[in-house]
């Protein structure tokens, strides 16, 4: 019913979006910029201005290049290429059509970013010519980025879409492709990157690379205008060369992209080699033994093989570990004690890791029906998924916990052991909780996008619920650490941790039961 309601007003959407964007650019962005204009004025005349604006514009540039690539890699589909190739249309026109077809979304993004950046400059007293030049600079920079992204994604789609392995690689890449940008963002928020860029001793190579990028040419005009508001004559030569450079870059990108179009739309097969399964090595033999060597051992090994051979799964694991590492390196205060490590990692890192590892329940109902058809199949399915996820996540959680504890001062052998055990236990019960949730809110889609959405929803539910529960326990005085005030702070933290772990296990078992019941009724 909600969908049909939206459909009725869908034809008004373009007007609605246009009005909303206009409101944002004319009123919201200037109002927000006005809130911290004094800080911005102080910043723009500082030595940090040029590198920071360079980095920010580079991030936008990089993000807009990645946006079409990531979107394409998630589901590499080549079916439409055959239709294009069969029609009497040039490949370069198809590529341009693909780019222009997405233009409403791209234009929205460009208006939002350009509106925000222009709003920052407006209170400085830029004249009309400077404002128009700035808008042209932003639009050309971002259009160049989106065009480059469209060309690269079209070429990658053709290259990767020819084989199942290629599609698998595409899905895996779509997960981790944004990691460098996230690292830069965290480094920027954490402040370390700005310091490093201001310091001539550490910024040499990075500044040189940044100056080479077209996004930096716009940043230099931005800072030049901000330093000389209403006086374009003072920076005329710099403006003409930088803007000219941008225009040449954009035209060159368009020309090169149209030349690459023939490669982007091709169904010529390059390989006929089939992926082969190797004989079970030590790892799978150990897993089989762990599962009891009988039927369940085989099921567990199979479940592991299906998981491990999908690069996307490994990519999600890598992504979650990388995010945890980046948060710790760039954003966290130095972890001063084993207690901090235990509390910080249990709050965010372990849910992150287990949430992404457990993922969604099944790839399609049809594979689930294979289990449903067999005697006690569903119970064994749940048991195998549980065991498999425990074997994947608990060692990683223990390793992260140990590494971070070792890095903290005041470490003792007992605190290292206690943290490792407590972290492993938390990871184990989180697996139960996430699996229960995945069964209860099943996502059967094959598409990466829908499955990723399901995982993020589950992650948000668990994060908010566990943080809420922890706060609730502390405020109500029911946390065990408060009941026993004679304990030292680390022992109290451990006790609280175990109490939370027990409660999460309880919730997990209930969800697992309800989820399994729901799955048995799935038709």
């Amino acid at each position: 019913m909600i969908t049909s309601g939206i459909r009725q007003i869908r034809r008004y959407f373009p007007y609605l979006v246009t009005v909303l964007l206009a409101i944002y650019v004319l009123f919201v962005a200037p109002a927000v910029a006005g809130l911290f204009i004094d800080d911005f004025l102080a910043f723009i005349i500082s030595v940090a201005a040029v590198p920071v604006i360079q980095i920010i514009l580079f991030m936008f540039f990089f993000y807009l290049v990645l946006f079409p690539i990531s979107d394409t890699l998630r589901e590499v589909k080549t079916g439409q290429i055959e239709i294009f190739l069969a029609s009497p249309v040039k490949s370069s026109d198809v590529l341009l059509g693909e780019f222009l077809g997405r233009m409403p979304f791209y234009a929205t993004a460009i208006v939002l970013i350009t509106g925000t950046l222009t709003a920052l400059l407006d209170p400085l007293g830029l004249d009309m010519v400077q404002s128009i030049v700035m808008i042209i600079v932003f639009v050309i920079t971002f259009l160049s980025a989106l065009w480059i992204g469209t060309v690269i994604s079209a070429v990658l789609r053709t290259k990767l879409g020819k084989t199942v392995r290629g599609k698998d690689v595409g899905r895996a890449l779509s997960v981790i492709i944004a990691l460098p940008m996230i690292a830069i963002m965290y480094a920027l928020i954490g402040g370390g990157l700005i310091k490093a860029l201001i310091d001539p001793a550490t910024s040499g190579n990075v500044r040189a690379i940044l100056n080479f990028l077209p996004s930096s040419w716009g940043a230099e005009i931005f800072v030049a205008f901000a330093s000389n508001p209403g006086n374009i004559g003072a920076v005329a030569l710099e403006t003409i060369t930088r803007l000219g450079g941008l225009v040449v870059f954009f035209l060159a990108a368009l020309w090169l992209g149209s030349k690459a179009a023939n490669r982007a739309y091709s169904l010529e097969s390059t390989t006929f080699t089939a992926s082969k399964a190797k004989p079970d090595g030590l790892f799978y033999k150990a897993v089989r033994r762990l599962g009891g060597s009988g039927s369940f051992g085989t099921l567990l090994t199979t479940s592991f093989k299906d998981y491990g051979r999908r690069l996307e799964n490994l990519s999600w694991l890598f992504y979650s570990v990388a995010i945890v590492a980046m948060i710790t390196i760039f954003l966290s205060d130095p972890l001063s004690s084993p207690k901090d490590v235990l509390e910080d990692l249990s709050m965010m890192a372990i849910p992150f890791l287990t949430g992404f590892a457990v993922g969604t329940v099944s790839r399609g109902k049809d594979t689930l029906f294979v289990y449903k058809k067999s005697p006690n199949g569903l119970s064994r399915f749940v048991k195998a998924r549980l065991m498999q996820n425990l074997l994947v996540t608990v060692p990683i959680a223990a390793a992260i916990m140990c590494t971070m504890t070792i890095l903290a001062p005041q470490i003792t052998a007992s605190s290292l052991l206690a943290n490792a055990v407590a972290g492993s236990l938390r990871a184990a019960v989180m697996v139960v909780l996430f699996l229960g949730l995945a069964l209860l809110i099943p996502v059967f889609a094959e598409e990466s996008r829908e499955r990723a959405f399901g995982v993020v929803i589950n992650l948000m539910i668990v994060l908010f619920a566990t943080i809420g529960l922890e706060i609730g326990l502390a405020r109500s005085g029911l946390s065990l650490g408060r009941i026993f005030p004679e304990l030292d702070s680390y022992a109290a933290a451990l006790l609280n941790h175990l109490e939370m772990t027990a409660l999460i296990l309880l919730a997990g078992v209930v969800l697992l039961y309800l989820g399994k019941r729901k799955l048995s009724r799935t038709e």
Binding site: S275, A277, T298, K365, V370, P375
Partner: protein
């Protein structure tokens, strides 16, 4: 003759208030060792019937006995006695043919020593032995269908459900599957329940045929009995007469209209 499949007013409804009757009070008997064909147009309820008889979904009302076991009460036993080639089967594409068959065998608790030997035999039978270690993602549709038929046989069930067994196969493989079904029925004494749109295959393979339309069984008997009842000369004509299909003349009527208006 022993009845191995017996449905008793078996019904499955979907939608609010159960207004969509996928299977409507189906009464059907299938005898031991016979090859039974269930025919029907798209959406007639064939696949739903097969899923009900394999305990994958539960009936809205009525029940069925499979090898003497009630599908509502003895789910596990029913599943042990049946093998299923589903219409849209779930395939673990990251497994090799050998690994997939080993996985299915494990699901049905086939002892490992028996399982290895049986998988070897099945892979040889379906000419897949030389590609046993290739991941299934690299197989053609026909090869995947062969693996799935092998998977339905891996625990050696006495009753076999084949939902569109030859729809994705090339003529040579289809012929091989057809011969295999005959062999399974004639020499191995298996009861085979086939759902198919391909009428000549059903006509050739099946001892008896049931025709289902809008969830209801509208005809049951041997091919000759159905032809006599409908006073038609071929199973195709009988099928159209019973299910209310569109004749060729009607299908091409639009051309005549266009010619007239031109």
């Amino acid at each position: 003759m022993k009845v191995v499949i017996q449905t008793k007013k078996l019904s499955k409804c979907y939608g609010k208030g159960g207004e969509i009757k996928a299977v409507d009070e189906l009464d059907l008997e299938v005898y031991e060792g016979e090859t039974f064909g269930l025919l029907g147009p798209n959406g007639a309820g064939k696949t739903t019937t097969v899923r009900l008889l394999n305990c994958i979904i539960k009936p809205t009302s009525g029940t069925a006995l499979v090898n003497g076991n009630d599908i509502l009460k003895d789910e596990t036993e029913v599943k042990r006695f049946t093998g299923l080639l589903a219409e849209s089967p779930g395939l673990y594409e990251k497994l090799s043919a050998y690994e997939f068959l080993e996985f299915i065998g494990a699901l049905y608790d086939v002892p490992s020593d028996v399982l290895k030997e049986r998988i070897d035999d099945l892979l040889k039978l379906f000419s897949l032995d030389d590609r046993r270690n290739d991941l299934l993602e690299g197989y053609s549709r026909g090869m995947k269908q062969k693996v799935l038929i092998a998977a339905a046989l891996v625990h050696d069930p006495p009753i076999l459900f084949l939902d569109e067994p030859t729809s994705a196969l090339d003529p040579r493989t289809a012929l091989m599957v057809k011969d295999l079904i005959k062999k399974l029925a004639d020499t191995a004494g298996k009861t085979i329940f086939i759902c198919s749109h391909i009428l000549p295959i059903v006509e050739e393979l099946c001892d008896r045929i049931g025709i289902i339309s809008q969830g209801k069984l509208i005809a049951l008997g041997t091919v000759d009995e159905i032809l006599a009842k409908t006073k038609t000369k071929s199973l195709e004509q009988a099928f159209i007469a019973l299910t209310g299909g569109v004749e060729e003349k009607e299908l091409l009527a639009w051309r005549e209209h266009r010619a007239a208006s031109a």
